[in-house]
Symmetry: C2
Subunit: 454 residues, 2 copies
């Protein structure tokens, strides 16, 4: 495969600009980030650890173009134009990358700098990009309504695209620190696989960045499901939520000083040993403790609702099943984790996923009127083979299954109202940000978003 250029020159109206397009992944923490020791620099109270999910299913795509013909910095998010400077965090990220670009330009003599009027020479010179305005367009390939936090993939894509556009030779460590200024958890989305955000101890934040624990290839059988849960109420924003927790929770200090440091070590061991049982137990306990300190906050913060609780119960039941022949426990085969909202993220080994999905589809049937494909797109064709010969295209195999399959669960679990889970997203552990070809950019030739909404 040819290497895709990190940025490309674009000539429009006889003026040469530059453009870069990347996608960046979502990451889901298994040791949670909750609490800042410095709000401006976004320095956390504790280290955290996450799995990067595959961009094939969930990503933010960001195109940035710089041109001497632009008169202002502009931003389009999912097709809607927004005020780029309304967000101090966004401004901080862009300012820092521009500063690095400026430094690079300053290191060169003025004669090396290209003039926009001299197109022939431009490609062999260093264009003064730090002086030019930029257009930024960013889109998530997952609906905002899915309730998934897009700030991690969003800021990771922004800093990666701008760093590429500016042709900066900075390390992923540096990139991670700049992404951190946008959104704490974004610093972990600059790597694929298993990633630790080291909290650091310096007031400057110079030692607070992400490091790779293991690449995505390390544990290829680990997969993830996102169970998108309906919720009428707006959740507490995580920024204000974590600040209230730090101020008011009396259990929080012990979590930070004792529990998390131990868990970070144990979680890295579990990942390096590909020990699913250990990984799963730590993941679930950690999710529970994060929500426990939210509840110990005053006023208390709730992110999980009755459906989230029912998913936990289903996982607990699944993990306590006994093999019918050997009579031995099947063991911990599935782990849940919940972030600052009611959605569950499930981690499981590949060979267990199908059984668990069928269980979820039985107890949380799709909404009336919803197509089975929009409920569970089944990107890996897990349920398709058993579908052959089924004349009713709207009935998925799990729904058609007879009751006995679930009889170990039905004494305790009841089936929930259709639509209680709105969507099941199946994905894998994936790689870090990807550079895309100009043909996949979000801009048209004029440097305006291809898709604009009002």
């Amino acid at each position: 495969m040819d290497q895709v250029a990190k940025r490309v020159p674009i000539v429009y109206n006889n003026v040469m600009g530059y453009e870069s397009t990347v996608t960046s992944p979502v990451n889901i923490a298994v040791v949670k980030y909750w609490g800042k020791r410095n709000s401006e620099l976004i320095l956390p109270t504790n280290s955290s650890l996450s799995c990067t999910l595959s961009q094939d299913h969930l990503n933010t795509k960001t195109s940035i173009r710089a041109s001497p013909s632009y008169t202002s910095d502009r931003l389009w998010l999912n097709g809607f134009e927004e005020d780029l400077y309304a967000s101090a965090r966004l401004t901080n990220c862009i300012r820092e990358l521009r500063r690095l670009r400026k430094e690079k330009e300053n290191e060169l003599s003025s004669s090396d700098l290209a003039s926009p009027e001299n197109l022939e020479a431009a490609e062999h010179h260093v264009p003064p990009l730090s002086e030019w305005c930029i257009h930024v367009a960013s889109e998530n390939n997952f609906p905002t309504a899915a309730g998934l936090a897009s700030s991690a993939s969003g800021y990771a894509a922004l800093v990666q695209a701008l760093s590429n556009l500016y042709d900066l030779s900075i390390s992923l460590t540096q990139l991670s620190m700049i992404a951190r200024l946008g959104s704490g958890s974004a610093c972990r989305s600059v790597y694929g696989g298993f990633v630790e955000w080291q909290a650091g101890i310096l007031p400057s934040g110079e030692d607070s960045y992400a490091v790779s624990v293991a690449p995505e290839t390390h544990w290829p059988t680990l997969q993830a499901l996102i169970l998108v849960v309906s919720d009428k109420k707006k959740s507490t924003p995580s920024t204000s939520g974590m600040s209230t927790t730090v101020k008011t929770s009396e259990l929080f200090p012990i979590r930070i000083s004792e529990v998390v440091p131990k868990r970070i070590i144990q979680m890295k061991e579990a990942i390096l040993q590909r020990d699913f049982t250990k990984f799963a137990l730590l993941t679930m306990k950690e999710s529970n403790q994060f929500h426990a300190v939210c509840l110990d906050t005053y006023p208390p913060i709730f992110y999980m609702n009755d459906i989230s609780r029912a998913i936990i119960k289903l996982v607990d039941l699944f993990n306590s099943q006994v093999d019918e022949i050997t009579k031995k426990p099947k063991g911990i085969r599935v782990a849940y984790t919940f972030d600052a909202g009611p959605n569950a993220v499930i981690y499981a080994e590949k060979d267990v996923i199908k059984e668990f999905i069928e269980l979820v589809m039985y107890f949380f049937p799709r909404g009336t009127g919803q197509t089975s494909n929009s409920f569970f797109p089944d990107p890996f064709g897990l349920l398709k083979s058993s579908c052959s010969g089924n004349g009713n295209p709207s009935t998925t195999p799990a729904e058609a299954h007879s009751h006995p399959k679930f009889e170990n669960y039905t004494p305790i679990m009841t089936r929930y109202e259709p639509g209680s889970i709105r969507r099941i997203i199946h994905t894998t552990i994936g790689d870090g940000p990807r550079v895309l070809d100009h043909s996949q950019a979000l801009f048209n030739e004029a440097g305006m978003p291809k898709r604009v909404k009002d």
Copy 2:
């Protein structure tokens, strides 16, 4: 008022027996009991503190009769006969009181002991009650379906009635320790008002008993509401729940060693100063922390559901209201606390209760088909006066109120499905166990329950 005899002699079929009837109150902890250091002796990991609620509205009534003609110990709970010896805890309480009675009898010469055949002499002698079998009948005046724990009032009534029947001269301290053997929180129901269960440190449990912090007359304006919440799922029993918490929660140790000891001191100060704000804040934080350590348990324990959370939100909103004229915050006027179930107990000063009840009735309307009297019996006639002239007897004033009254809440709160709260019980802080007259006993003359169910 005449002093009611603690026990009465009953002659039936020419045999003299003795009978005692008491009622005992429910108590609701504001510093929670959760965790045992010794399961058999029911010794807690931490001191706890509760308010005793009025027996006028919530009580357990227990009658015990001893007769030389009985051939076995028998027990009726709410009219259903149960195996008295199926419960080790019940057995422990009865065994201990019988032992004390036996000691008392042993202190007297045999000539002082009455013979059942010698009725004339019996009243002037000490009958050998420890040798006789007993009939126990116990009834709650609140429906079991109300989801209120009846073990505290139940065991307090049992030990009080049996101690009276046996004519024991034991202190409330001793009585409290015996009630503790039945159910930990029962030890607090032997006093009215504000009660601390001192955890103690001795392995024998001799220093683990309840003491009065202040009598019910100390803070006569403090009132309570119980909001009975519908819940389909069975909650985790508190005995197994607290044992799992002690074993698995990593936040629990700091709660026990640092948070609770401090809170006990602060809570006593708040009560002695009748400082509602301080009392309310501590009560709410303490409830939150109890549920936080339940959530930090593995597998996690949930007692609150979406309706419980909505009640917390309503309380938070109520406590953040601003006076329309002075523009000053009205302050913390209501406190919530939740035990091992979804029901809320609300504490508030008398002059605030009506406003809060109306709010609850608006956002959690009674179920369709439910009468307003069964939803909110209104024992203090709070809503009755404003009802005059209202031609529709099934419409309570709160329900008839127009929307504007709740407009500070409606941007944030939505009205919940009718019947989400099943019942509102309004009560006050009340006294300790009461001795009742024979006419109010649960037995007929033959010593069988007046009301029996199969």
